[in-house]
Symmetry: C2
Subunit: 224 residues, 2 copies
Protein backbone atom coordinates (compact mmCIF):
# COMPACT_ATOMS: atom_id res chain seq x y z
CA UNK A 1 0.00 0.00 0.00
CA UNK A 2 2.77 2.41 0.94
CA UNK A 3 4.38 1.86 -2.44
CA UNK A 4 1.24 2.94 -4.26
CA UNK A 5 0.70 5.91 -1.94
CA UNK A 6 4.24 7.19 -2.35
CA UNK A 7 3.54 7.75 -6.05
CA UNK A 8 0.36 9.77 -5.48
CA UNK A 9 0.25 13.53 -5.48
CA UNK A 10 -1.09 13.55 -1.95
CA UNK A 11 1.95 11.73 -0.56
CA UNK A 12 4.48 13.12 -3.02
CA UNK A 13 7.86 13.73 -1.43
CA UNK A 14 7.19 11.39 1.48
CA UNK A 15 9.17 8.15 1.66
CA UNK A 16 7.42 4.80 1.85
CA UNK A 17 8.82 4.14 5.29
CA UNK A 18 7.60 7.51 6.48
CA UNK A 19 4.12 6.92 5.09
CA UNK A 20 3.56 4.02 7.47
CA UNK A 21 4.27 6.30 10.41
CA UNK A 22 1.96 8.95 8.98
CA UNK A 23 -0.91 6.52 8.51
CA UNK A 24 -0.63 5.41 12.12
CA UNK A 25 -0.43 9.01 13.19
CA UNK A 26 -3.59 9.82 11.23
CA UNK A 27 -5.48 6.65 12.19
CA UNK A 28 -6.32 6.15 8.53
CA UNK A 29 -9.07 3.64 7.87
CA UNK A 30 -9.12 1.12 5.07
CA UNK A 31 -12.45 -0.30 3.87
CA UNK A 32 -13.48 -2.77 1.21
CA UNK A 33 -16.46 -2.35 -1.08
CA UNK A 34 -18.23 -4.80 -3.38
CA UNK A 35 -19.09 -3.80 -6.91
CA UNK A 36 -22.12 -1.52 -6.81
CA UNK A 37 -21.70 -0.50 -3.16
CA UNK A 38 -22.24 3.13 -2.26
CA UNK A 39 -19.07 4.71 -0.92
CA UNK A 40 -20.44 8.21 -0.42
CA UNK A 41 -24.14 8.97 -0.77
CA UNK A 42 -25.29 12.24 -2.32
CA UNK A 43 -26.48 14.60 0.38
CA UNK A 44 -24.34 13.10 3.10
CA UNK A 45 -21.59 15.02 4.86
CA UNK A 46 -18.03 13.82 5.20
CA UNK A 47 -14.94 14.99 7.00
CA UNK A 48 -12.88 12.37 5.23
CA UNK A 49 -11.42 12.19 1.77
CA UNK A 50 -10.95 8.88 0.02
CA UNK A 51 -8.01 7.40 -1.82
CA UNK A 52 -8.69 4.45 -4.10
CA UNK A 53 -6.14 1.72 -3.36
CA UNK A 54 -7.48 -0.84 -5.80
CA UNK A 55 -10.49 -1.19 -8.07
CA UNK A 56 -12.39 1.79 -9.44
CA UNK A 57 -14.89 4.31 -8.12
CA UNK A 58 -17.47 6.22 -10.13
CA UNK A 59 -18.55 9.78 -9.44
CA UNK A 60 -22.08 10.67 -10.50
CA UNK A 61 -24.84 13.09 -9.67
CA UNK A 62 -28.61 13.30 -9.86
CA UNK A 63 -30.76 16.29 -10.70
CA UNK A 64 -34.13 16.92 -9.06
CA UNK A 65 -35.89 14.82 -11.71
CA UNK A 66 -33.85 11.69 -11.12
CA UNK A 67 -31.73 11.92 -14.26
CA UNK A 68 -28.20 11.04 -13.31
CA UNK A 69 -24.94 11.63 -15.10
CA UNK A 70 -21.48 10.19 -14.74
CA UNK A 71 -18.95 12.87 -13.92
CA UNK A 72 -15.79 10.82 -13.90
CA UNK A 73 -13.98 7.86 -12.41
CA UNK A 74 -11.32 7.49 -9.76
CA UNK A 75 -8.46 5.13 -10.48
CA UNK A 76 -6.05 3.64 -7.91
CA UNK A 77 -3.92 6.33 -6.31
CA UNK A 78 -6.41 9.06 -7.06
CA UNK A 79 -8.29 11.05 -4.47
CA UNK A 80 -12.00 11.82 -4.26
CA UNK A 81 -14.35 13.91 -2.13
CA UNK A 82 -11.40 16.01 -0.99
CA UNK A 83 -13.28 19.18 -1.88
CA UNK A 84 -16.22 18.29 0.35
CA UNK A 85 -14.03 17.03 3.16
CA UNK A 86 -12.33 20.42 3.15
CA UNK A 87 -15.60 22.38 3.37
CA UNK A 88 -17.00 21.67 6.82
CA UNK A 89 -20.67 20.75 6.71
CA UNK A 90 -21.12 20.94 2.93
CA UNK A 91 -23.37 18.07 1.83
CA UNK A 92 -22.12 16.12 -1.17
CA UNK A 93 -23.66 17.11 -4.50
CA UNK A 94 -22.30 13.91 -5.96
CA UNK A 95 -22.36 10.27 -5.03
CA UNK A 96 -19.45 7.87 -5.23
CA UNK A 97 -20.01 4.19 -6.00
CA UNK A 98 -17.74 1.21 -6.47
CA UNK A 99 -17.56 0.35 -10.17
CA UNK A 100 -15.93 -2.94 -9.18
CA UNK A 101 -14.63 -4.49 -5.98
CA UNK A 102 -12.71 -1.60 -4.51
CA UNK A 103 -10.52 -0.81 -1.55
CA UNK A 104 -10.51 2.73 -0.21
CA UNK A 105 -8.34 4.46 2.34
CA UNK A 106 -10.05 7.23 4.29
CA UNK A 107 -8.20 10.18 5.76
CA UNK A 108 -9.97 12.50 8.14
CA UNK A 109 -9.16 15.98 6.96
CA UNK A 110 -9.49 17.68 10.33
CA UNK A 111 -7.06 15.10 11.68
CA UNK A 112 -4.74 15.86 8.79
CA UNK A 113 -4.95 19.53 9.64
CA UNK A 114 -4.68 19.37 13.41
CA UNK A 115 -1.19 19.59 14.78
CA UNK A 116 0.12 16.11 15.37
CA UNK A 117 0.90 15.43 19.02
CA UNK A 118 4.02 13.55 18.00
CA UNK A 119 5.22 16.58 16.01
CA UNK A 120 5.38 14.16 13.11
CA UNK A 121 7.85 15.75 10.67
CA UNK A 122 6.03 14.76 7.48
CA UNK A 123 2.71 16.10 8.59
CA UNK A 124 3.54 19.55 7.27
CA UNK A 125 4.40 18.09 3.91
CA UNK A 126 1.08 16.26 3.81
CA UNK A 127 -0.86 19.44 4.50
CA UNK A 128 1.02 21.23 1.76
CA UNK A 129 0.29 18.35 -0.61
CA UNK A 130 -3.41 18.42 0.23
CA UNK A 131 -3.53 22.11 -0.54
CA UNK A 132 -1.73 21.45 -3.82
CA UNK A 133 -4.21 18.72 -4.72
CA UNK A 134 -7.13 21.08 -4.13
CA UNK A 135 -5.45 23.95 -5.93
CA UNK A 136 -4.54 21.80 -8.89
CA UNK A 137 -8.12 20.61 -9.20
CA UNK A 138 -9.29 24.23 -9.13
CA UNK A 139 -6.74 25.06 -11.80
CA UNK A 140 -7.84 22.23 -14.06
CA UNK A 141 -11.49 23.15 -13.68
CA UNK A 142 -10.89 26.79 -14.52
CA UNK A 143 -8.90 25.78 -17.58
CA UNK A 144 -11.80 23.65 -18.73
CA UNK A 145 -14.20 26.54 -18.20
CA UNK A 146 -11.93 28.85 -20.18
CA UNK A 147 -11.81 26.39 -23.06
CA UNK A 148 -15.58 25.99 -23.17
CA UNK A 149 -16.41 29.67 -22.86
CA UNK A 150 -16.44 30.31 -26.60
CA UNK A 151 -19.72 29.54 -28.33
CA UNK A 152 -18.09 28.21 -31.49
CA UNK A 153 -16.27 24.93 -31.93
CA UNK A 154 -13.38 26.74 -33.58
CA UNK A 155 -13.06 29.12 -30.65
CA UNK A 156 -12.97 26.28 -28.17
CA UNK A 157 -10.35 24.40 -30.15
CA UNK A 158 -8.26 27.55 -30.47
CA UNK A 159 -8.48 28.20 -26.76
CA UNK A 160 -7.40 24.66 -26.00
CA UNK A 161 -4.61 24.66 -28.56
CA UNK A 162 -3.38 28.01 -27.25
CA UNK A 163 -3.11 26.45 -23.84
CA UNK A 164 -1.32 23.39 -25.19
CA UNK A 165 1.16 25.55 -27.06
CA UNK A 166 1.83 27.63 -23.96
CA UNK A 167 2.23 24.55 -21.79
CA UNK A 168 4.64 22.87 -24.18
CA UNK A 169 6.49 26.09 -24.90
CA UNK A 170 6.24 25.36 -28.61
CA UNK A 171 3.78 25.66 -31.46
CA UNK A 172 4.13 21.94 -32.01
CA UNK A 173 2.61 19.70 -29.39
CA UNK A 174 0.73 16.48 -28.77
CA UNK A 175 -2.62 16.16 -27.06
CA UNK A 176 -3.52 13.44 -24.56
CA UNK A 177 -7.04 12.84 -25.90
CA UNK A 178 -8.49 11.02 -28.85
CA UNK A 179 -11.16 12.84 -30.86
CA UNK A 180 -14.10 11.63 -28.80
CA UNK A 181 -12.42 12.54 -25.53
CA UNK A 182 -11.42 15.95 -26.85
CA UNK A 183 -15.00 16.57 -27.97
CA UNK A 184 -16.29 15.57 -24.53
CA UNK A 185 -13.75 17.82 -22.85
CA UNK A 186 -14.75 20.77 -25.02
CA UNK A 187 -18.44 19.94 -24.78
CA UNK A 188 -19.05 19.62 -28.54
CA UNK A 189 -20.10 16.94 -31.00
CA UNK A 190 -17.25 14.76 -32.20
CA UNK A 191 -18.08 14.70 -35.88
CA UNK A 192 -18.74 18.42 -35.97
CA UNK A 193 -15.40 18.97 -34.28
CA UNK A 194 -13.65 16.66 -36.69
CA UNK A 195 -15.08 18.57 -39.60
CA UNK A 196 -14.11 21.89 -38.02
CA UNK A 197 -10.57 20.64 -37.53
CA UNK A 198 -10.16 19.96 -41.22
CA UNK A 199 -11.66 23.35 -42.08
CA UNK A 200 -9.11 24.95 -39.78
CA UNK A 201 -6.35 23.07 -41.52
CA UNK A 202 -7.67 24.22 -44.92
CA UNK A 203 -7.79 27.80 -43.56
CA UNK A 204 -4.14 27.49 -42.61
CA UNK A 205 -4.67 27.88 -38.89
CA UNK A 206 -3.31 24.52 -37.88
CA UNK A 207 -1.62 21.39 -39.18
CA UNK A 208 -2.24 18.04 -37.60
CA UNK A 209 -1.78 14.34 -37.95
CA UNK A 210 -3.43 12.17 -35.36
CA UNK A 211 -2.57 13.65 -31.98
CA UNK A 212 0.33 15.77 -33.22
CA UNK A 213 -0.66 19.39 -33.80
CA UNK A 214 1.12 22.44 -35.16
CA UNK A 215 -0.29 25.87 -34.44
CA UNK A 216 0.42 28.30 -37.27
CA UNK A 217 0.53 32.08 -37.72
CA UNK A 218 0.25 33.49 -34.22
CA UNK A 219 -1.06 36.78 -35.57
CA UNK A 220 -4.31 38.54 -34.83
CA UNK A 221 -7.66 36.89 -35.35
CA UNK A 222 -11.04 38.33 -34.50
CA UNK A 223 -13.38 35.46 -35.31
CA UNK A 224 -12.80 33.14 -32.42
Amino acid sequence: MELLLSSTSLFQGIQESEISALLNCLAAQKRNYRKGDVIFAEGSVTESLGIVLSGMALISFCDAWGNHSILGNVAPGEVFAEVYACIPGEPLRISVDAAEDTTVLFLNVSRVLSTCTNACPFHTRLVRNLLTVCARKSFQLSQRIAHTSSKSIRGRLMSYFSECAKASGSHRFQIPYNRQQLADYLGVDRSAMSSELSKMQRDGLICYQRNEFLLKSPGEFASL
Copy 2:
Protein backbone atom coordinates in the same frame (compact mmCIF):
# COMPACT_ATOMS: atom_id res chain seq x y z
CA MET B 1 -7.25 46.67 8.05
CA GLU B 2 -7.73 43.98 10.69
CA LEU B 3 -11.44 44.77 10.80
CA LEU B 4 -11.82 44.10 7.09
CA LEU B 5 -9.70 40.97 7.26
CA SER B 6 -11.66 39.49 10.15
CA SER B 7 -14.74 39.37 7.93
CA THR B 8 -13.01 37.53 5.08
CA SER B 9 -13.24 33.79 4.59
CA LEU B 10 -9.47 33.49 4.84
CA PHE B 11 -9.38 34.96 8.35
CA GLN B 12 -12.76 33.67 9.46
CA GLY B 13 -12.80 32.68 13.11
CA ILE B 14 -9.71 34.72 13.96
CA GLN B 15 -10.16 37.79 16.16
CA GLU B 16 -9.03 41.21 15.00
CA SER B 17 -6.48 41.42 17.77
CA GLU B 18 -5.10 38.03 16.82
CA ILE B 19 -4.84 38.99 13.17
CA SER B 20 -2.26 41.64 13.93
CA ALA B 21 -0.05 39.03 15.56
CA LEU B 22 -0.57 36.71 12.60
CA LEU B 23 0.38 39.35 10.06
CA ASN B 24 3.61 40.04 11.92
CA CYS B 25 4.26 36.35 12.16
CA LEU B 26 3.73 35.97 8.41
CA ALA B 27 5.63 39.12 7.43
CA ALA B 28 2.70 40.09 5.25
CA GLN B 29 3.43 42.84 2.74
CA LYS B 30 1.09 45.65 1.82
CA ARG B 31 1.52 47.36 -1.54
CA ASN B 32 -0.27 50.18 -3.33
CA TYR B 33 -1.10 50.21 -7.01
CA ARG B 34 -2.27 53.00 -9.30
CA LYS B 35 -5.14 52.43 -11.66
CA GLY B 36 -3.91 50.33 -14.60
CA ASP B 37 -0.87 48.95 -12.80
CA VAL B 38 -0.07 45.28 -13.30
CA ILE B 39 -0.31 43.35 -10.03
CA PHE B 40 0.48 39.92 -11.43
CA ALA B 41 1.69 39.41 -15.00
CA GLU B 42 0.57 36.42 -17.00
CA GLY B 43 3.34 33.85 -17.18
CA SER B 44 4.99 34.92 -13.96
CA VAL B 45 5.28 32.65 -10.95
CA THR B 46 4.15 33.58 -7.47
CA GLU B 47 4.38 32.03 -4.07
CA SER B 48 2.08 34.68 -2.66
CA LEU B 49 -1.65 35.12 -2.78
CA GLY B 50 -3.20 38.57 -2.76
CA ILE B 51 -6.01 40.06 -0.70
CA VAL B 52 -7.59 43.27 -1.97
CA LEU B 53 -7.82 45.73 0.92
CA SER B 54 -9.28 48.63 -1.04
CA GLY B 55 -10.01 49.39 -4.67
CA MET B 56 -10.66 46.72 -7.27
CA ALA B 57 -8.57 44.24 -9.23
CA LEU B 58 -9.39 42.72 -12.61
CA ILE B 59 -8.58 39.19 -13.65
CA SER B 60 -8.05 38.64 -17.37
CA PHE B 61 -6.29 36.32 -19.74
CA CYS B 62 -4.85 36.33 -23.23
CA ASP B 63 -4.89 33.58 -25.80
CA ALA B 64 -1.98 32.95 -28.16
CA TRP B 65 -3.38 35.45 -30.68
CA GLY B 66 -3.55 38.38 -28.30
CA ASN B 67 -7.30 38.38 -27.75
CA HIS B 68 -7.92 38.96 -24.10
CA SER B 69 -11.00 38.39 -21.98
CA ILE B 70 -12.09 39.56 -18.57
CA LEU B 71 -12.63 36.64 -16.23
CA GLY B 72 -13.84 38.47 -13.16
CA ASN B 73 -13.07 41.11 -10.58
CA VAL B 74 -11.78 41.02 -7.04
CA ALA B 75 -13.50 43.26 -4.50
CA PRO B 76 -12.09 44.30 -1.10
CA GLY B 77 -11.73 41.33 1.23
CA GLU B 78 -11.54 38.85 -1.62
CA VAL B 79 -8.53 36.72 -2.45
CA PHE B 80 -6.82 36.18 -5.80
CA ALA B 81 -4.01 34.03 -7.23
CA GLU B 82 -4.40 31.61 -4.32
CA VAL B 83 -4.62 28.69 -6.71
CA TYR B 84 -1.29 29.53 -8.33
CA ALA B 85 0.39 30.33 -5.04
CA CYS B 86 -0.56 26.85 -3.86
CA ILE B 87 0.90 25.08 -6.91
CA PRO B 88 4.67 25.55 -6.67
CA GLY B 89 6.18 26.70 -9.94
CA GLU B 90 2.95 26.95 -11.93
CA PRO B 91 3.10 30.04 -14.14
CA LEU B 92 -0.01 32.23 -14.06
CA ARG B 93 -2.44 31.70 -16.95
CA ILE B 94 -4.12 34.97 -15.99
CA SER B 95 -3.00 38.47 -15.29
CA VAL B 96 -4.26 40.70 -12.50
CA ASP B 97 -4.46 44.47 -12.94
CA ALA B 98 -5.66 47.33 -10.78
CA ALA B 99 -9.02 48.57 -12.08
CA GLU B 100 -8.59 51.62 -9.86
CA ASP B 101 -6.16 52.73 -7.18
CA THR B 102 -5.84 49.59 -5.14
CA THR B 103 -4.14 48.33 -2.00
CA VAL B 104 -3.18 44.69 -1.82
CA LEU B 105 -1.92 42.55 1.03
CA PHE B 106 0.37 39.70 0.01
CA LEU B 107 0.72 36.50 1.98
CA ASN B 108 3.47 34.07 1.17
CA VAL B 109 1.81 30.68 1.04
CA SER B 110 4.88 28.65 1.92
CA ARG B 111 5.26 30.89 4.97
CA VAL B 112 1.63 30.28 5.80
CA LEU B 113 2.24 26.56 5.55
CA SER B 114 5.55 26.32 7.37
CA THR B 115 5.30 25.77 11.09
CA CYS B 116 5.53 29.07 12.85
CA THR B 117 8.53 29.33 15.17
CA ASN B 118 6.38 31.09 17.75
CA ALA B 119 3.89 28.20 17.67
CA CYS B 120 1.35 30.88 16.87
CA PRO B 121 -1.99 29.37 17.91
CA PHE B 122 -4.05 30.82 15.06
CA HIS B 123 -1.72 29.60 12.37
CA THR B 124 -3.50 26.25 12.22
CA ARG B 125 -6.82 27.99 11.74
CA LEU B 126 -5.37 30.05 8.89
CA VAL B 127 -4.14 26.94 7.10
CA ARG B 128 -7.54 25.32 7.47
CA ASN B 129 -9.18 28.48 6.13
CA LEU B 130 -6.87 28.56 3.14
CA LEU B 131 -7.76 24.98 2.33
CA THR B 132 -11.43 25.87 2.65
CA VAL B 133 -11.02 28.82 0.31
CA CYS B 134 -9.39 26.60 -2.32
CA ALA B 135 -11.93 23.82 -1.84
CA ARG B 136 -14.85 26.20 -2.05
CA LYS B 137 -13.53 27.62 -5.29
CA SER B 138 -13.21 24.09 -6.68
CA PHE B 139 -16.74 23.37 -5.59
CA GLN B 140 -18.14 26.46 -7.26
CA LEU B 141 -16.27 25.72 -10.47
CA SER B 142 -17.53 22.15 -10.65
CA GLN B 143 -21.08 23.36 -10.06
CA ARG B 144 -20.73 25.77 -12.94
CA ILE B 145 -19.40 23.01 -15.17
CA ALA B 146 -22.32 20.79 -14.22
CA HIS B 147 -24.79 23.53 -15.09
CA THR B 148 -23.22 24.20 -18.47
CA SER B 149 -22.82 20.59 -19.50
CA SER B 150 -26.19 20.35 -21.22
CA LYS B 151 -26.26 21.55 -24.82
CA SER B 152 -29.71 23.10 -24.56
CA ILE B 153 -30.70 26.24 -22.72
CA ARG B 154 -33.55 24.40 -21.04
CA GLY B 155 -31.22 21.70 -19.76
CA ARG B 156 -28.85 24.26 -18.31
CA LEU B 157 -31.64 26.13 -16.59
CA MET B 158 -33.04 22.87 -15.20
CA SER B 159 -29.66 21.87 -13.87
CA TYR B 160 -29.23 25.23 -12.19
CA PHE B 161 -32.76 25.29 -10.77
CA SER B 162 -32.32 21.74 -9.48
CA GLU B 163 -29.27 22.90 -7.61
CA CYS B 164 -31.08 25.96 -6.25
CA ALA B 165 -33.98 23.82 -5.06
CA LYS B 166 -31.61 21.41 -3.34
CA ALA B 167 -29.65 24.21 -1.73
CA SER B 168 -32.76 25.94 -0.41
CA GLY B 169 -34.42 22.68 0.58
CA SER B 170 -37.59 23.80 -1.14
CA HIS B 171 -39.08 23.98 -4.60
CA ARG B 172 -39.50 27.69 -4.11
CA PHE B 173 -36.35 29.78 -4.09
CA GLN B 174 -34.78 33.05 -5.15
CA ILE B 175 -31.77 33.44 -7.39
CA PRO B 176 -28.96 35.95 -6.81
CA TYR B 177 -28.60 36.94 -10.47
CA ASN B 178 -30.50 39.14 -12.85
CA ARG B 179 -31.27 37.75 -16.28
CA GLN B 180 -28.06 38.96 -17.92
CA GLN B 181 -25.90 37.61 -15.13
CA LEU B 182 -27.71 34.28 -15.18
CA ALA B 183 -27.22 34.04 -18.94
CA ASP B 184 -23.51 34.77 -18.51
CA TYR B 185 -23.23 32.18 -15.78
CA LEU B 186 -24.91 29.54 -17.93
CA GLY B 187 -23.04 30.62 -21.04
CA VAL B 188 -26.12 31.38 -23.15
CA ASP B 189 -27.71 34.36 -24.84
CA ARG B 190 -29.91 36.44 -22.55
CA SER B 191 -32.84 36.94 -24.89
CA ALA B 192 -32.86 33.30 -25.93
CA MET B 193 -32.85 32.34 -22.28
CA SER B 194 -35.62 34.76 -21.49
CA SER B 195 -37.73 33.26 -24.22
CA GLU B 196 -36.93 29.73 -23.04
CA LEU B 197 -37.97 30.66 -19.52
CA SER B 198 -41.41 31.70 -20.65
CA LYS B 199 -41.73 28.54 -22.74
CA MET B 200 -40.89 26.51 -19.66
CA GLN B 201 -43.53 28.36 -17.71
CA ARG B 202 -46.06 27.67 -20.46
CA ASP B 203 -45.03 24.00 -20.41
CA GLY B 204 -45.75 23.90 -16.69
CA LEU B 205 -42.20 23.18 -15.61
CA ILE B 206 -41.68 26.31 -13.56
CA CYS B 207 -43.40 29.43 -12.26
CA TYR B 208 -41.52 32.62 -11.76
CA GLN B 209 -41.80 36.30 -11.10
CA ARG B 210 -38.62 38.32 -11.22
CA ASN B 211 -36.05 36.43 -9.17
CA GLU B 212 -38.55 34.23 -7.34
CA PHE B 213 -38.88 30.78 -8.88
CA LEU B 214 -41.05 27.76 -8.21
CA LEU B 215 -39.99 24.39 -9.54
CA LYS B 216 -43.01 22.23 -10.39
CA SER B 217 -43.71 18.53 -10.94
CA PRO B 218 -40.53 16.75 -9.87
CA GLY B 219 -41.41 13.75 -12.00
CA GLU B 220 -39.40 12.17 -14.77
CA PHE B 221 -38.25 14.08 -17.81
CA ALA B 222 -36.16 12.77 -20.63
CA SER B 223 -35.67 15.86 -22.77
CA LEU B 224 -33.18 17.83 -20.74
